[in-house]
C-alpha cells in the first residue's frame, strides 16, 4: 500500500483528488472546480468523472459520505480517504522535485 507505487498520477486523477482533499463535494461541484482551477486545461465530462470516481472508490482513495447532501438528497457527496490524501501529497512532492531539476537550467 505504498502511495508512491501509484505515481505518477494522470492529470485528471490528480486534480480530482486535490479538489476533494479540500473538502467533500458532489460530482457537479468537482467538475466546476476542476475546470476553474485548470483554467479549462483539463477537460472533464460527467461520464469520465464518475468513472474515475468509481475506480478511485474501488481502489480506496475516495469514499462516499454517509450523510446525504443537504441541498439535494439524490446527489452523493464524495471525500478523499487518508490513503487518497497521502497519494496526492506524494504526487505533489514528486512534481516539486521534478520542477527543482528544471529550474536551475532556466536561469
Amino acid at each position: 500500500m505504498d502511495p508512491e507505487s501509484h505515481l505518477p498520477l494522470p492529470p485528471r486523477t490528480l486534480l480530482i483528488l486535490a479538489v476533494l482533499a479540500e473538502g467533500p463535494l458532489h460530482g457537479y461541484g468537482i467538475l466546476t472546480e476542476v475546470e476553474e482551477r485548470s483554467r479549462s486545461g483539463v477537460t472533464l465530462d460527467a461520464a469520465n468523472l464518475y468513472r474515475a470516481l468509481r475506480r478511485m472508490r474501488a481502489d480506496g482513495w475516495v469514499e462516499e459520505v454517509d450523510e446525504p447532501d443537504p441541498e439535494d438528497p439524490r446527489r452523493r457527496l464524495f471525500r478523499v480517504t487518508p490513503l487518497g490524501r497521502s497519494i496526492v501529497e506524494a504526487e505533489v512532492a514528486r512534481l516539486q522535485n521534478v520542477l527543482s531539476w528544471v529550474r536551475p537550467a532556466q536561469a
Binding site: Y28, D45, A46, Y50
Partner: protein, 882 residues
Amino acid sequence: MRPVVAAYAWLVRRLFPRGFVEDEAAEIVETFRAQCRAADTRWGIARVVLRSFGGLAGAAWGAWRDRRRELRRSPAAGTAGRAGDGPVTRAGGTVRRAARALARRPSFTGSVVALVALGVGSATAILTVVDHALLRPLPYPDPERLAFVTEGTHSGPFLEDLSAVPGVEAWAAAWRRDAVLTGGDTPLLLTDVKVTRDFFAVFGARPARGRLFVDDDFRDPAVAVVSFDAWLTVWGGDPGLVGRSIRVDGSAVRVVGVVEEGFRPPAPLTRGEPDVWTPLDPASAVMSEYHYGILEIGARVRPGASVEDVDRAVADMLRRRAPEVEAYREEDGRPVRIPVVALEDETVAGVRDDLRLLMAAVGVLLLVACANVAHLFLARGLGRLREMSVRRALGADGPALVLQLLAEAVLVGLAGGALGLAGAGVAVEAYRRTGVSAVPGAGELSLDLRVLAFAVAASLVTAVIFGLMPALQATRSDPAGGLREGGRGSTGGAGAARLRGALVVGEVALSLILVAQAILLFRSFAALASVSPGFAVEGVTTVPLSVAGVYGMEERTERAEAIRTALEAVPGVEGAAYGITMPLEFTGGSTCCWGMGVRAEAGPEAHEVHAAVHPVSDGYFDVLGISPVAGRPWAPGEADVTVINAALAVARFGSAGEAVGRTVHTDEASRRVVGVVPDTRHYGPDQDHGPALYVPAAAGAWSPRLHLAVRSRPGQAPPADALREAVWSVDPELPVPVVRSLEEWSARAVARESFASKLYATFGLLALLLAAAGLAGTTLHAVASRRRELGIRLALGEGRRRVERRVLAGGLALGAVGTALGLGVTWQVGRALERSVYGVEADDPVTLAGAAGVLLAVVALSSWLPARRAGRTDPVRVLGSE
C-alpha cells in the same frame, strides 16, 4: 435541450456495463443536465455537449476495462484471463476458444467454410480471367493511342493510300502466312509474319539478341527475326543462331535477331504468335494489287489526335479516291466503309460480352452462397442464445463474447477464403490449358496479388457481416430472458423468421436465373450440334498442307495429284480428294478463300450473284459423302465444268433441276453446270453458307493451301503416320503438322458453345443445390421452432398427413414466390443473352417453363423431408420436455 439530454441518457444506459449503469447513470445524466443549464451562451452549451458526448466512448471503454479487472478478482470469472495477462495472451485465448467452439460444430463449420470457399473461389477465378482480358491495358507503350483498321484484310495499295492520312504517327501492317523450314530432321511448318518497317517500333518490341529490322532490310528482304519462344523450341536456344542462314520456303534467309521474351504481338494483327518475322517488301507483287487483301493494319495515332479523328480521315480518303479506285466502291457505287477503331476495343471485342455474362453469373452464385452463409449464421447465432445467456449470467462481459463470435467468423472466413483461393488457382490453371482460351493473353493467366487481396477481403467481409449480425443480437438481449424462455426463445421470433424467409425467396429467384441461363445455353448447344452438315462427318480424315514456297504455281496441281494417288494407296483408304479448304476448317464467322460474282449470261451488265468458289479435285464429293440432288459430279478430264450448290442454283436459275446443263459466267471462266449438290455447312453449323461454286482443282493452283481428305470405314481410320509417310513419299520436304478427323474438326467448331453450356450448367447446378439446402434448412428450422405447437396439434388429434401437408405448403409457398420473382428477372436477362445464343429465342417460353419446373421440383423436395419430420413429431416427448 430535452432531446439532447434524453439522447445522452440513452447512450449512457447502452454503452456502459450493467453495474455501472445501476450505480452511476442517474447522477451522470443529472450532472450533464446541470452543466448544460449552467452554460449561459450558445457556444458554452455546445462545448459542454460536444465534450460530454465525445467523452462517452473513452469512459465506456475504461468502465468495461475496470469491470474486467474487478471480475478477475472475483471467483465468478467469465471469459477473462488471469490477472497480468498481456493483450497478446488474451487475444490468443480468444482465438483458441473460438477455434474450439467451431470444432464442436463440425457440420456448421464445414458448411460455412465450403460456402465461403465456393463463392470466393469462383469469384476470384472469374475475376482473374476478366481482369486479364478486359481490365489490363495492352502491353505496349501508350496503348490508348493504338488503332486498328477493321473489315478483314487489306491490300498493299490501300496501305499506301493510308500513309497520306493525317493524324497518324506510323502505320504497322502484318501478313501472316505459313512457311516451311527445311534443313532439320523433318520439315517444319512455321508461322511467318511479314511486317512493315515501323511495326516493331509501333508496338515497342525490342531484341533479346541481335537486332530488329532496319530500313535496308526492306530493300533486301532475305533476313528474318526469330521469336523468343521459337528460338527456344525450334532451335533449342542456340546462341549461334543470330548471323546464321536458315532455309525458309526453299530459300536462304539470314537470322539477324531474336525478339525479346515478353513481347506479345497484338492478336488482331498477327492472330497469334509467329515463329519468324520477315520484312514485307513494299515492291513485291503481292503488295501491288488492290484486290489482293493480305494485310492486317494497325497504327499509332499522333499525340493530340484521337482514333476517331483517324477514322474520319480514312473515311474521307476513301470517299475522295472512290471514283478512281474500283476497290473502294460498293456494288451500288457508294464508297466502302472501313472503320478504324481503338486496338484495345478490337482485342477484346469478341469476348467482352461473354465475359460480362460470366461475371454476372458468378455474381449471382456469390449472392446465393452468401445467402446460405447468412442462413447458417443466423440459425446458429440464435441457437446459441441460451449458451450466451448462461455465460452472461455467470459474469462474462458483452465485448468479450462479441469478440469471440467475431473471432469465429474471421477464422471461418479466412479458412474459406484460403480454400477458395486454392480452388481458384486450380480452376485458372485448368482454364489456361484448355483450347477454348479465346481470351487474349490467356497463356499468361496467373493469380496476382490484387486478386489475392480481393479474395481475403471478400471472405472476411462475408464472414464478419453474417457472423456479427446475429452475434450482436444475441449478446444485446437480456440474458435472464434468454434463460427463462429456454428452447422457445432460441428461435428469435417473428423478425428472424421473416428474414430467413426473405433469404430463401431471394435464393430461389437467383437460382432460377442461373438454371434458366444454363438451359438456354444447353439448348443452343444442342441446336448447333444437331444441325445437319450436308457432308459425312464420320470416316473422313483430313490433312491440311501448305505448299507455299515449296511448289510454284505451275507444278502445284501435278504434285497435288501425286499426293492424292499416294494417299489412296494407303491400306484402309477408300478414296482421297483435295481442295483449298475442307469443311469446318474455318468457323466462327471467318471464311476462306475465294469468292466471285456469278452471272447467267456473258457480259458485265447482267445481275451478279456473289458465290464462294471451291476448287476441288475429282472424287471430292464421293470422299465427303455429298450426293448431288441433280446431275452428277464432273468426270476426270472434263473441262470448263462446274458443280454448283442448291442456293446458287435457286438464286441463278430458279431451281436445281433448271440449272443442269446451263452455263454460268464469272471473271475467271464460263462453265457448264453438270451437277447440283445440297448446301453444306462448310463454315460451321451456325453459318449459312450461301451460294457456292465447285470447280476443278487446277483453277485454284494460285493458292498455297492444299487440304487433303481421305475416306475410310467409320472407326477404321488409317493411322496418322501412314498418311504422313504417304505424303513424304511424294515430297520429303513437305511438313505435315496436322492429321485430324472431321469428327474432331466438328467438335472444335462447337467447342465454345459446348464449353459455355457446361460451365453455366455447373453454375446452375451449384446454385440449385445451394438454394435447395437453404430452403431445406429454413423449413427444418421452422419445424423445429414450432415443435411445441405441432406437438399440441398432433396430441389434439390432427392427422399426421395434415401436418405434413401444412409444412410442405409453407415451403412451396416460399419457393413459388421465389420462382415467380426469378421468372420476371430472367425474362429481362434473356434479352441480354440473345446475341450469344444460336437457334433459340432468348426469352423462349420452353426454357423458362423448364427452369421454373426444375426449381419447383427442387423446392418440393427440399420441403418434403422436413415435412415428414414434422409429421413424425412425438407429441409426448415434445410436451413432456417443457
